[in-house]
């Protein structure tokens, strides 16, 4: 009896591995081709038999500046998102102010506005303000990916913190800000991490704002660096795939190291 269930479970595991292999084949292919160098071979072989790092060398030469840009923009977007979203999440979870219901509703709708709409208008606004081709402009625009999500996910968590926790501090004479900073923020650490991680991933993967709000080569995110390769005929796929692999590193690292935060965010984003 036990043996047959064990056998069945093993079969499931094998099927699961096959499914994963099929789904992740493109990721394998990305890594595989990235190790086959910068030649102009007509096709790629199935395994990287002659491993070479030429592709990475070229990618590194082309993309270092863009990677730095992406890093600055993504970290900046995390900072802006958390600074704006955390107090708002606290207020939404604790206070009862008129108009808060409307604000929550607006946040839900905001997540659904197509990015091209925002990009269209921000281009003209940033043009007037001199924010095109600047880090500040990209950071502020990229925070649109993270802020509604961060507010919603953090306020959902903060609602579960017992009110007694802050009330005690308030009785001791602490103002709202003290109670928020020294009690709510430390207790909500996990949801801040989730919100921060996703704000980072959203901004790091951003394509829309990099495409529309930068025009030169000086400030260009890595996603646009890859897009540049894809326009026109690609002569050699090694460097393209190497750049794609490098741009995927944060997602892979976070998936491995921050599994539980990712899972929390993936669910929280949609079903509140």
């Amino acid at each position: 009896m036990n043996q047959t269930t064990d056998a069945r479970k093993l079969r499931y595991t094998i099927v699961g591995i096959v499914l994963l292999a099929v789904m992740l084949f493109p990721v394998y292919w990305m890594v595989n081709v990235s190790l086959q160098g910068g030649g102009t071979a007509a096709n790629s072989s199935f395994f990287p038999t002659n491993v070479t790092f030429e592709g990475y060398q070229r990618a590194w030469e082309d993309q270092t500046g863009n990677l730095v840009t992406s890093m600055i923009v993504a970290l900046g977007a995390v900072l802006v998102s958390l600074v704006i979203a955390t107090p708002a999440a606290y207020a939404l979870s604790r206070f009862r102010l008129r108009g808060m219901g409307i604000f929550l509703f607006v946040l839900l709708l905001a997540q659904m506005i197509p990015g091209i709409v925002i990009a269209n208008s921000l281009y003209t606004l940033f043009n007037d303000l001199g924010l095109l081709n600047t880090y500040v402009g990209l950071i502020l625009a990229n925070a649109t990916h993270g802020i509604p999500f961060a507010i919603l996910i953090m306020s959902a968590f903060m609602r579960s913190i017992p009110p007694a926790l802050t009330e005690a501090a308030r009785v001791d004479g602490a103002g709202h800000f003290r109670a928020f900073w020294s009690i709510i923020v430390p207790v909500s650490k996990n949801s801040l991490i989730t919100a921060g991680l996703f704000s980072f991933l959203f901004a790091w993967s951003d394509f829309m704002f990099g495409l529309t709000l930068t025009t030169g080569a000086d400030i260009k995110p890595i996603t646009l660096g890859i897009y540049d390769y894809l326009q026109g005929n690609v002569q050699s796929w090694g460097p393209v795939m190497a750049s794609a692999v490098i741009s995927s590193v944060p997602a892979i690292v976070l998936l491995v190291l921050a599994q539980r935060y990712i899972a929390a965010g993936a669910l929280g984003g949609a079903v509140k």
Binding site: N43, V117, Y227
Partner: protein, 316 residues
């Protein structure tokens, strides 16, 4: 976008000092509470409210490159909309948007649901495998798009090579107007499966085991159990997943621009890519805004559906 910034209506001042002090204290309290929300409200007004209003206005202006120099954008009423709707391209983009959305949603949902059902069975490594499946969704979309562009390449792509070994002639995945849309749908399905699977999986987890145990006593197992127990209980989650899927698919830009640039011969041009093309490649911001306003209306329709469905899902 009317968000009440001002605090509540002032309390009618009573004659006595103590009352006044108390009401002033309450005012101060209210103000302190609002301060927590002010940055977020200001941000939302500037980065969501303003763009929508501006976009609506631009949709009725002759807003071009000249506008940036002269500052003049003459009012043209509905001319931009007329130009967009009567252009031969409009029917193509609407049809492509519909086909792209329906194709993507059906593919993502069906495969996502099958995956979710499979991973609901407990087996060794199940959870690890399931979480690794999130990868296509977490990667920068343009990175996934890049590798697919090489996989789908008509000459050296691995897909055509694999098909060649079983005797199928090379398919011009990205360069033939007949199949390019199928190719971009395929890639978008690949990106969307993890998201669908994750939400549906959590929905399945919330169906109590007792229901299945009771059903099994009545002879409901296998497909019967699915139709009589799983599906009715999963319905609220299904609606949320489908509506969110539509909203996300309508916005897709990177996959299409990266793979085909909207071509060949506009075969993969959607409302989103056409809006981008008009505004940022032809610098006709007026007609670009008109197209994206049409896109907003479509998205908002689905957003309203989502909010109603989600509310019901939460209430239940």
């Amino acid at each position: 976008m009317t968000t009440t910034l001002a605090g509540p209506a002032p309390v009618v001042a009573p004659g006595r000092g103590a009352d006044r002090r108390r009401s002033r204290a309450r005012m101060r309290e209210r103000t302190a509470q609002w301060l927590f929300l002010v940055p977020a409200i200001a941000y939302v007004l500037v980065f969501f409210g303003y763009p929508i209003v501006k976009n609506l206005v631009m949709g009725s202006q002759d807003y071009t490159v000249r506008t940036f120099v002269s500052g003049e954008a003459p009012w043209v009423g509905l001319d931009n909309y007329v130009e967009v709707v009567t252009s031969g391209l409009f029917r193509t983009t609407v049809l492509n948007t519909a086909l792209f959305t329906i194709g993507s949603i059906v593919g993502q949902f069906v495969i996502g649901l099958l995956f979710a059902l499979f991973f609901k069975r407990r087996f060794p490594l199940g959870n690890v495998l399931r979480s690794l499946l999130l990868l296509p969704w977490l990667l920068p979309m343009i990175a996934g798009t890049a590798v697919w562009k090489w996989i789908l390449d008509q000459d050296g792509g691995v897909l055509n090579e694999a098909l060649g070994t079983i005797g199928i002639a090379p398919v011009h995945w990205l360069t033939s107007p007949d199949v390019a849309l199928v190719a971009v749908v395929l890639v978008n399905v690949w990106v969307g499966i993890p998201f669908n699977m994750t939400l549906l999986y959590s929905g399945l987890q919330n169906i109590p085991d007792e229901l299945y145990e009771a059903g099994a006593l009545d002879g409901a197992t296998g497909a019967k159990a699915f139709w009589h127990i799983t599906w009715p209980n999963l319905r609220p989650v299904v609606s949320v997943v489908l509506v969110l899927g539509v909203i996300y698919t309508l916005k897709v830009l990177d996959i299409i621009l990266g793979l085909t640039g909207g071509g060949p011969a506009n075969a993969t041009q959607t409302l989103a890519t056409d809006s981008y093309r008009r505004s940022f490649q032809e610098f006709s911001f007026g007609t670009g805004a008109a197209v994206s306003n049409i896109l907003i209306v479509v998205s908002l329709l689905f957003a309203v559906v989502y909010l109603r469905v989600n509310k019901r899902a939460v209430d239940e």
